[in-house]
Subunit: 256 residues, 6 copies
Amino acid sequence: MAKAEKSVKTAGKAANVKPVQEQPVLHAIKGGKSAPKNGAAKTAAPAKPAQSKTAMIKALANKPAPAAADDAPVIALDLGPAKLSPAMTAYFKKCQDKLGFVPNVLVAYAFDSTKLEVFAAFYNDLMLGESGLSKLEREMIAVAVSSQNRCYYCLTAHGAAVRQYSGNPLLGEQLVMNYRAARLSKRQRAMLDFAVKLTASPGSVEEGDRERLRRAGFTDRDIWDISAVVGFFNMSNRVASATDMRPNTAYHGQVR
Amino acid sequence: MAKAEKSVKTAGKAANVKPVQEQPVLHAIKGGKSAPKNGAAKTAAPAKPAQSKTAMIKALANKPAPAAADDAPVIALDLGPAKLSPAMTAYFKKCQDKLGFVPNVLVAYAFDSTKLEVFAAFYNDLMLGESGLSKLEREMIAVAVSSQNRCYYCLTAHGAAVRQYSGNPLLGEQLVMNYRAARLSKRQRAMLDFAVKLTASPGSVEEGDRERLRRAGFTDRDIWDISAVVGFFNMSNRVASATDMRPNTAYHGQVR
Amino acid sequence: MAKAEKSVKTAGKAANVKPVQEQPVLHAIKGGKSAPKNGAAKTAAPAKPAQSKTAMIKALANKPAPAAADDAPVIALDLGPAKLSPAMTAYFKKCQDKLGFVPNVLVAYAFDSTKLEVFAAFYNDLMLGESGLSKLEREMIAVAVSSQNRCYYCLTAHGAAVRQYSGNPLLGEQLVMNYRAARLSKRQRAMLDFAVKLTASPGSVEEGDRERLRRAGFTDRDIWDISAVVGFFNMSNRVASATDMRPNTAYHGQVR
Amino acid sequence: MAKAEKSVKTAGKAANVKPVQEQPVLHAIKGGKSAPKNGAAKTAAPAKPAQSKTAMIKALANKPAPAAADDAPVIALDLGPAKLSPAMTAYFKKCQDKLGFVPNVLVAYAFDSTKLEVFAAFYNDLMLGESGLSKLEREMIAVAVSSQNRCYYCLTAHGAAVRQYSGNPLLGEQLVMNYRAARLSKRQRAMLDFAVKLTASPGSVEEGDRERLRRAGFTDRDIWDISAVVGFFNMSNRVASATDMRPNTAYHGQVR
Amino acid sequence: MAKAEKSVKTAGKAANVKPVQEQPVLHAIKGGKSAPKNGAAKTAAPAKPAQSKTAMIKALANKPAPAAADDAPVIALDLGPAKLSPAMTAYFKKCQDKLGFVPNVLVAYAFDSTKLEVFAAFYNDLMLGESGLSKLEREMIAVAVSSQNRCYYCLTAHGAAVRQYSGNPLLGEQLVMNYRAARLSKRQRAMLDFAVKLTASPGSVEEGDRERLRRAGFTDRDIWDISAVVGFFNMSNRVASATDMRPNTAYHGQVR
Amino acid sequence: MAKAEKSVKTAGKAANVKPVQEQPVLHAIKGGKSAPKNGAAKTAAPAKPAQSKTAMIKALANKPAPAAADDAPVIALDLGPAKLSPAMTAYFKKCQDKLGFVPNVLVAYAFDSTKLEVFAAFYNDLMLGESGLSKLEREMIAVAVSSQNRCYYCLTAHGAAVRQYSGNPLLGEQLVMNYRAARLSKRQRAMLDFAVKLTASPGSVEEGDRERLRRAGFTDRDIWDISAVVGFFNMSNRVASATDMRPNTAYHGQVR
């Protein structure tokens, strides 16, 4: 393992995975609020320094709110936790510090440090990197796609993100329930129409669909980004559904 | 850009992304055959050293077979090509040497070197890394999923991969057309039933579905891997469909 | 209240509508809390006595929370408000007193006092009358059906009711998103499986489906009640969707 | 029960529910013909005065035509018949006198006098009350919705109603089989297109759909009424399918 | 005319098309009743000898019942009528004599005498030739398939055939509306379950489906025949829908 | 049987069914090449003269390619082979001579000489007779329909036919995978859009759909022919799927 740790030390320098110290955490809470206010999350106090990495992973799964205890493990598969690379150990610590918990999707991938790392690299570039789409817009796509696929994990985590980024609790709910009920700009409506069509019947997307996005003001690069986010959540929804991934309970009470 | 190039130079040292010199190419041709035999691909002779990276990307898109010229660009979005990182430049060269062409999905991602790198890292770990699933089985999932989603790009590229890995041209065809027509072992049938259900209605997958896989001999880790491959192609199918990605014509004639 | 009772006394002459003094309000808030605690609803202070019935209807539509203003009228149809019958006037007052607002579905039906009255009578008998199903179970059906139909109004109002009756915020969310993600007893799972099948493909329900409910412990009368609740929300979902009915914003913050 | 009966006695005075003696029966036969002419119904002679209400309910279920005996009970649930309120007793007698039988949907609800009463009140206001839609149009919607949902009970009973109101046996058949095969006015076609869309995918109905109705000449109140009828039969279809409700055989031969 | 008749004279000798004098007419009326009894059809008196074939074709399209006039031509395509071969002329005459009209599907195919002849040969072998399936069973399949496909022409013509062969008007209606509502033997239910599955999702039919038929008592030859009838009506339904084929109005009133 | 054979001898004289000696074989190989070039088919050398007709049928099923042996019988039903009529015997011989094998669909129908004969007559008139549609266009429809229905047999056999008639291997692949990926003329795109809609939801085809074909340049007779081909393959797909019909392996390698 020493060798693995060593190889990770230089990982921060790799161009293709942003150095951890610069990596934004998933769904950073708007306005720097590091701890959600309402009941459920209040109990999710930062765990004490864990003795071992294995213990840490368990500790990082935040505790359910008293009234809503949900004793399910993070996923329904029995996968022994891996020894995290230093980069990923640091990443988890950063999540804990900023969010008060490590998102369960990361805990789920932590059975294999490489898989965790490429997943995090992919995710962070996609959702937090430069794009003509705002972070809110990317989260809106995430929720609209996840609603189409009825993914409990992603609707919970990214529904909270939409509420946070928009400061509009109703918008988050509407995208979870039926994006057509939301009062959207023409741009955002075109974006979500494309996202839902691409999710529901990918084989029927054609030039006319791209043209509608261009007419709504999107560049070709924006169309790539929309498609990439749609694609990503069609992946994540399925990994989450296939493994019965359970969201951190803290999400439920955020920004209501 | 200089900074990006520098940061990429050390990329090979990152533990979490296999060094490029060790990275297998996509669907390496079985038995080390570096050039497909049949007509279409014969014409795709290695391009001469390209003057610039931009030129190289164009050169790498292999030439269509005479009888089946398909003048479409690789994707229907106009994205300027990026300067590839040295790692990715090396990776493209390796593809060219081993396959005779660079798979168009890589050419498509090459508008952004970081996106290309995280995509390739994700792909290579998933499809070529260690797993209880054989590489053929992972390709079988790729094709069954892509058939459900009617993805022209992925059916072409991964249909060829199934033909190559299995040495059975009929199997490739059957998975493209209707996996139920293939004569599969119980294990592989259970695997593809799960893959297609997870693709078609992810929200309805439950413990009973995982149990069926366990009864067919799969471990929990295998179930993760099946789910991850299903998820990945549900992503790739959508990026390909959204962008009208065109497969290299060489695939069509391989292993018929 | 005396006045309300008096005005109701004459209402009691209608055989088919329970006298108002016995009529429970829709989703009475558990434990007698008459005002929701969180921000959005706080602003929904009881309106002053309205000069006219027309004014009252407008006043009763509770005000949106500042951060989530949603200026849509209650429905997207322009229907002049009717003169409410004394019974319905009293009913609205009772809602206002107990809930802090009149549910928008009632405001919507108030364009015609007869329609409002038969709707309220139907609803109250169904959801609050005697049954082998608990009120929570009836609300769970309401949400599972409304999720299948993607009805924003009903998911919001009855999602809140599930959270209230169960005291379990997660349960409400899970039924909104995907009832299969909830940890349900066999009885409740059988109930919701039947509800969703009857919603999605009514023409395929047969004796085997009723038998499954009987095996889960339901009587034939319970099966009627389940079917009647499923039917009712398949009606309400469609009236709400057809008219773009908007839920009272107070619901969103309740029992999170 | 005495109390309930008493409260019913005065029911006729309530403005909001039409007095029973004025309540039209379901699908009153056009032109005052109180007995259908063709074979099947001829045999459904009025039952003798029943000794008890329980007996009466059984007697009211009309006898099947000889060639088409269908020994199924009215519904597949074993629900003991209730003592009917005087209002409902009178209502059943009126059905018997005018139609020659009591529609089985009413017999089905007769296990609970209150449920029967609110159902009848709801139904009569909706289908026979004032509206910009003719009674035929409301029945046309009933059949188009029931065809979408493949509801044997409602297609039979309301198919007969369309044949009666229109005097056009083909129209009834066409709406049962495929409303697109009927030669409809633009108004009626728009009405049924809306009805079928609202039935098949309620969550996708939006302002554009309402606009199409307005352009076809419907007022906002008409749109409410269309939606309410669509909603009602989406309810009735499901109650009928869930309980295997069997139509009176007399319907089959009417107005062929 | 003489020439055409002559070329047709030898047609009867062709082995692959049964000699006309032995060809049964479509849906021959049970018990040799050559004229339906009820009103609509009464008016469809045999046309007088037509002067020309063109006139004859028009004359053969039976007249609509007074109350249900439907002025549509037989199909919505403008195809000049062909000169019928003597065999087909004789066949049409036989239909007229036995049924009182020529089924409109034959009138539709009469734009091309060869197409008419191969269609009639195919149809007659399939529906009236030797088989382990009774003629009623073949018609039941026709209706169940046509209901799935919502084909107005076939539901009308073959719904009448089911009523005739079974002498059970309800059975015809039930198969039109929802075959699950019919009280069927296990054999016939298995047959229609297979027919509807093969219609709705042919690509998912597998050995298990054939096994279910075998367990219900069907031989392999019977399974072929079921499949062939299902296939045939999936063809006819589409030709009829694509051309807006209108059924003879006489069917509507038969055996009600 | 003697009589049947005799009646067949004169079949050639019947105007309405092309004489066998003039009947084109299914998918005649373009340019008179009677033997496919690539490996799989090379092994399918013409069988020696069979001793008996039964033996001949077996012999005609061409041998699988070594690498892709597929030991399944032609269909999954056990139907004894019939004595073929002289006409059909000649027809099979002609297939063998021209194609190098008898298409398995004909082998499948050979359990009953009459069924084989009417099937072949129907097929040959439809696919090889005079029409405003080219033979390639008819094959394109066959493949697009078979793709919608996921029919392994027809996709294989008619996919090969599209490759042969068009000389474009990619076109065949694209129609198998997703016809929207093919670069089609407006005419052919309109044709396939109609074909796929008529396949997927026949009950929703209306005048507007026919109008679109007319605007794309099709005559009413062309529309009949398109509909007839769509109908035919909706039949064949279901017979093939219901019986697990296996295509001759020679098709797989043709014109790649």
